[in-house]
């Protein structure tokens, strides 16, 4: 059989290329905008999905990775004694500010972790750079955020609190799109940056967290909103009255990977022994560590992505943009196919007059639709991949185009092209015979 659809498509090369550019644009629009949305979701859970911890333990009520109340560091030792736990490591995350040169301020989140740990690390960082984190006042940052910190690279300095912090290494692809700049440090450095050491009797966030178990949520909210939390807790009899403040002891060198038992940590990352039932292990951990909740890595990631998607306008807006991109892309592709069919309406009318079966019309249009979708898809997805690569390399922004999403984009474009062609063919099938006989 003569390949009418293909020959008709390729006859006018200029028109075909214009149509292909339109389909490629539609593919790019769908791939990039859905990629931004998927990349956003992925970036919010990067610190979780990149870890090798089976279970994340945190205080109850944690809505997403970056927002959790602290618990005591000695919970780590307790977690290590729970049956079924192979390894446990602590993680700390808190908000602070970076003062770069010229007193330029940058909103940051300091993540404290064990540089020699195996359950978490800030992306692809060489071992020697991780070792440098044990030096006082050191940190690592994602290279896409160097500019935000007003530095140009390793060796750059800035202030966190009263500390002159030096950047001793960089990583890449770890920075969530919507987060404050993440600063990675050893647990002890992180503790120092966040000035967590308190005078006896002064309420730390750990104390507040301990109080959480005793108070109902409304009461706790009042405490947290109070100007002088310590005073309020003492008045309520929850904390003992403060003793006279002793003179601070001179600083001594300490193991930088460990903290004091009463210090704050945000998470305890747990690796289960092989063959452990994670649900049962979660239950044992939460019963041993009072006031905590435990999540598998997937649950933790789902909880975080769900927060961004459902509870913030950022997820909604990006989702909306992706949806609009999908609709616009589909419309462009559909319009191109529809126009292509309408331009050849007389030829379709001729086919109808001479008695071609309806199936031939559908076959011709489906052939054209699939050719256009496939040939438009290739440049569209290549351009999208280049844009995604550029965005990640220069800004650390993830535009997630996976083989699955690319195939889905191809299927959507192909389906839309076919659907539009079939819609247009209806005109040919209902064509007025007088039109066919007209010259």
């Amino acid at each position: 059989m003569v390949p009418l659809g293909r020959k008709t498509l390729f006859k006018d090369v200029a028109r075909f290329l214009v149509a292909q550019a339109g389909v490629a644009f539609a593919v790019g629009l769908i791939a990039i905008e859905t990629g931004i949305y998927l990349g956003f979701i992925q970036s919010t859970v990067l610190p979780i999905t990149e870890s090798s911890a089976d279970i994340w333990v945190c205080t109850r009520g944690m809505p997403y990775f970056e927002l959790t109340l602290p618990m005591r560091y000695d919970a780590l030792a307790k977690a290590r004694t729970v049956t079924g736990v192979r390894r446990a490591e602590a993680m700390l995350i808190k908000t602070s500010a970076w003062r770069g040169t010229g007193h330029k301020l940058e909103y940051i989140r300091v993540i404290g972790f064990d540089p020699h740990g195996v359950l978490w690390s800030p992306g692809p960082v060489p071992a020697e750079e991780l070792d440098r984190l044990f030096a006082p006042d050191s940190a690592i940052v994602d290279d896409t955020k160097l500019g935000n910190l007003n530095i140009t690279g390793v060796g750059g300095t800035g202030k966190i609190g009263v500390h002159d912090v030096r950047i001793v290494g960089t990583t890449h692809g770890t920075q969530p799109v919507v987060s404050a700049t993440l600063i990675y440090a050893s647990m002890r450095n992180a503790k120092a940056y966040l000035s967590m050491t308190s005078a006896p009797g002064v309420a730390t966030s750990t104390d507040i967290n301990a109080a959480q178990a005793e108070l109902d949520p409304e009461e706790l909210a009042r405490y947290l909103g109070a100007v002088d939390v310590s005073k309020y807790l003492v008045e309520q009899g929850i904390l003992p009255a403060p003793a006279p403040t002793p003179k601070p002891a001179p600083a001594v060198a300490q193991d930088p990977s460990t903290l004091d038992p009463g210090d704050d940590v945000s998470y305890i990352l747990v690796q289960a022994q092989p063959g452990q039932d994670l649900t049962a292990l979660k239950g044992r951990l939460t019963s041993e560590l009072r006031g905590t909740a435990a999540y598998t890595r997937k649950e933790m990631a789902d909880r975080t992505s769900s927060y961004w998607v459902k509870r913030t306008n950022i997820g909604f807006i990006l989702g909306l943009i992706a949806f609009v991109g999908l609709i616009v892309g589909i419309t462009v592709a559909g319009q191109i196919l529809y126009t292509s069919v309408v331009e050849h309406i007389t030829e379709y009318g001729t086919l109808r007059a001479i008695g071609a079966p309806d199936s031939l019309f559908y076959k011709v249009v489906a052939e054209q639709a699939l050719i256009m979708a496939c040939l438009g898809f290739i440049p569209g997805i290549v351009i999208s991949a280049i844009v995604a690569h550029w965005a990640f390399a220069t800004r650390g922004v993830i535009i997630l185009i996976t083989p699955e999403s690319a195939v889905l984009t191809l299927l959507i474009i192909a389906a839309m092209c076919v659907a539009s062609g079939i819609f247009a063919v209806q005109r040919a099938l209902r064509v007025d015979p007088a039109m066919v006989f007209r010259g």
Binding site: M1, L4, T346, G355, P357, D358, A434, G439
Partner: protein
């Protein structure tokens, strides 16, 4: 000896509703087309000749009346069956040629053969038909590279593909100059006779009258004279 009838129309009426206006395009037309006959249907614009051609060719279904073509009662056939009937029994020649611009002359004929299920040696058969209309050297030309007369000859070759019993031609000479018009008309008549098919031609062109076996005049949706 009685000549068999290829097409018989009885009291064919066609009414259109355009908005609130009822238009009677055909008012009870009856006619027979005999086998091998070259029948001319003439009339002014808007007289209903194209509508009649469409009905006799199984493209339109009349509002009332009966049409029997090649032994088949067309008014009883559904859309798909009508299309199949047209494909197997009728060849069409259009005023504007209606060739597929992306296909070569041979492919235009080959397409018609393929549709009719004649796929074995379709290429050779297409070239043979083009030889018959004098275009054997131009099988690989695209329509854009052919003159108007040559295009109409390709259209005639396409109409003859698959041995139809009837050829319906709508103003086949309207786009041709005098010489080409006459040449194409003579060719159509000669080939129709040699292929054993009847021809029903709608035209304004009085030059064709001299080659027709019979001429019918239609006016205001009814046959005259």
């Amino acid at each position: 000896m009685r000549v068999p009838v290829v097409v018989a129309a009885r009291d064919v009426r066609m009414t259109y509703q355009i908005g609130s206006t009822r238009v009677e395009a055909l008012r009870g037309i009856s006619l027979d087309v005999s086998a091998g006959e070259f029948l001319l249907l003439m009339g002014p614009s808007g007289s209903g000749k194209t509508t009649l051609l469409s009905i006799l060719g199984g493209i339109l279904t009349p509002t009332s009346g009966a049409v029997v073509a090649c032994g088949t009662e067309l008014t009883r056939l559904r859309r798909g069956a009508l299309a199949r009937f047209r494909l197997l029994n009728i060849g069409f020649v259009f005023q504007g040629f209606n060739l597929f611009s992306a296909l070569t002359a041979a492919e235009n004929v080959q397409l018609a053969l393929g549709l009719k299920g004649d796929k074995v040696d379709a290429r050779d058969k297409a070239c043979e038909l083009l030889e018959e209309v004098g275009l054997g050297e131009k099988c690989e030309r695209l329509p854009a590279d052919l003159s108007a007369g040559e295009k109409q000859r390709v259209a005639i070759a396409r109409a003859l593909a698959g041995q139809p019993r009837l050829i319906m031609a709508d103003e086949p000479t309207a786009s041709l100059d005098s010489d080409n018009g006459k040449h194409v008309t003579m060719m159509m008549r000669r080939l129709a006779k040699s292929h054993g098919c009847s021809v029903l031609t709608v035209t304004h062109d009085p030059r064709i009258m001299e080659v027709a076996d019979r001429v019918l005049h239609i006016e205001d949706g009814a046959l005259r004279g």
